[in-house]
């Protein structure tokens, strides 16, 4: 049986590695920006929700429900294709990090809220008994402990953010997946393209998950170890 294709990974990589590397750089850069942003959003809004801060807590609740119950691709389309109708024209690079950051932030808000709420009441009472004010309690007790409780779920969100950068293909932002598919359109070396994509994404995701499991062990609370 002759196969309907040829396979030459070596020359594929040799010819295209610069372009693919640039795509990978963009994937990592967009993910990094979005992860930091999602962390900040999650911590701040999660705290607002956990502490039931008036107005902010409700607004955060609406934000969370909207962005968790609509597909991220619809959010990307809205930012890139719909906003120009009211005069807000964001370029593809901006939509790239903004969309995944806002999406990740919504999930992270819930992660941190659960983490903060799980901080045993006795820790917070101990803190106020020691004379810590509300903010000080939060910064010194709730955030460190709640953040570590939220670590597994928030790391999963960050990994999802990395994977969702591949969804920037429809707006032609040249991150890794888009770059690889553009090469595929010109050369039709489909098997080589997907080998590269598979290897790169799985390496990234698997090593991140493994690294996080290591860190989780170190950062876990003493009583959960």
């Amino acid at each position: 049986m002759t196969l309907a294709f040829t396979y030459d990974l070596g020359s594929y990589v040799a010819e295209n590695w610069e372009f693919l590397l640039k795509g990978l750089e963009r994937t990592l850069l967009v993910s990094a920006i979005a992860i930091v942003g999602a962390f900040v959003i999650g911590a701040v809004l999660g705290a607002a929700r956990a502490h039931h801060i008036p107005v902010l807590s409700q607004l955060a609740g609406v934000y969370v429900e909207i962005f968790r119950n609509t597909p991220i691709l619809v959010q990307i389309f809205f930012l890139y294709y719909a906003l120009p109708q009211v005069g807000i024209k964001l370029d593809a690079a901006t939509v790239a990090w903004l969309s995944v950051m806002v999406w990740g932030g919504a999930y992270n808000t819930e992660n941190f809220r659960a983490g903060f709420e799980a901080v045993a009441a006795r820790f917070r009472e101990a803190a106020s008994a020691l004379g810590f004010g509300k903010l000080a309690t939060f910064l010194n007790v709730t955030l460190p402990i709640g953040g570590r409780i939220a670590l597994p779920s928030s790391i999963n969100t960050y990994i999802a953010v990395l994977k969702n950068t591949a969804l920037l293909y429809p707006i032609a932002y040249e991150e890794l997946t888009t770059s690889a598919l553009q090469i595929n359109a010109l050369t039709l070396e489909t098997w080589e393209t997907f080998t590269v994509l598979g290897v790169v994404y799985l390496t990234l995701v698997w090593s991140l998950s493994a690294a996080i499991r290591l860190v989780e062990g170190r950062l876990a609370l003493p009583e959960t170890r």
Partner: protein
């Protein structure tokens, strides 16, 4: 209501929404069947099968779903013309691969959480491995699976929008086609007006109306079942 709304709405609902629900239905059923089986089999202490199933789970959860869908659409046909699936089916297959990995992992956790006494009692009553799992273990495990399964349904429905990139007609792609057609000048079949916000907003609203109740349901079930 302006003239353009009616045909567009009809197109988006009759073709688009139906497409979304069809893809989602196939993917959920497929994911559940395959995932429950794999998740149960992985508990067998036989390292080759364990390793293979673990590989399956980690690969399809680790890849972005869009890459999986593209691979099914572009790569499979090169292995044989019977494997040449249309955009619809390719998207459903891609979503099933991802969904089954999720369900397998959840099933593994659920089955592993059944106390050992249940296995021992069932064996004492004369059940073999298959009988034990079919009549004793899985019914209990499946109850614990319901919240994750609702979560899977939500995930599959939302990710069905990825079928757009290979040309399937689901809700988002029909919205995009409608926006593009309306924006074109009358010579090309449009009306020269941009209605992107209305149409993409409508898509967001429809997904929200479907997913929000489901996520409430999942939360409710989770609280009920965590005894």
């Amino acid at each position: 209501m302006p003239d353009w709304v009616e045909p567009v709405a009809r197109y988006m609902f009759e073709v688009g929404l139906r497409g979304t629900l069809k893809i989602a239905a196939i993917a959920v059923v497929g994911s559940t069947l395959v995932g429950v089986v794999l998740g149960t089999l992985i508990t067998i202490r036989f390292w080759p099968s364990r390793w293979l199933i673990r590989l399956y789970i980690e690969v399809w959860r680790g890849l972005p779903i869009i890459v999986t869908i593209f691979a099914v659409f572009f790569l499979l046909p090169t292995l044989g013309s019977q494997l040449d699936f249309d955009p619809f089916t390719s998207a459903a297959i891609g979503l099933t691969l991802w969904g089954s990995a999720q369900v397998a992992e959840a099933t593994r956790g659920a089955v592993a959480s059944i106390p050992h006494e249940q296995h021992e009692a069932a064996s004492a009553l004369g059940f073999g491995w298959v009988g034990r799992h079919t009549y004793v273990i899985l019914p209990q495990a499946l109850r614990r699976l319901i919240p994750p399964l609702v979560g899977l349904l939500i995930g599959v429905i939302q990710n069905s929008t990825l079928a757009l990139v290979i040309g399937a007609r689901e809700l988002l792609s029909t919205a995009q086609q409608s926006v593009d057609r309306l924006t074109a000048p009358p010579a090309f079949g449009g009306i020269g007006e941009i209605h992107a916000i209305e149409l993409y907003g409508a898509v967001a609203v429809v997904f929200f109306l479907i997913c929000f109740p489901l996520s409430r349901l999942a939360r409710f079930l989770e609280q009920r079942l965590v005894v």
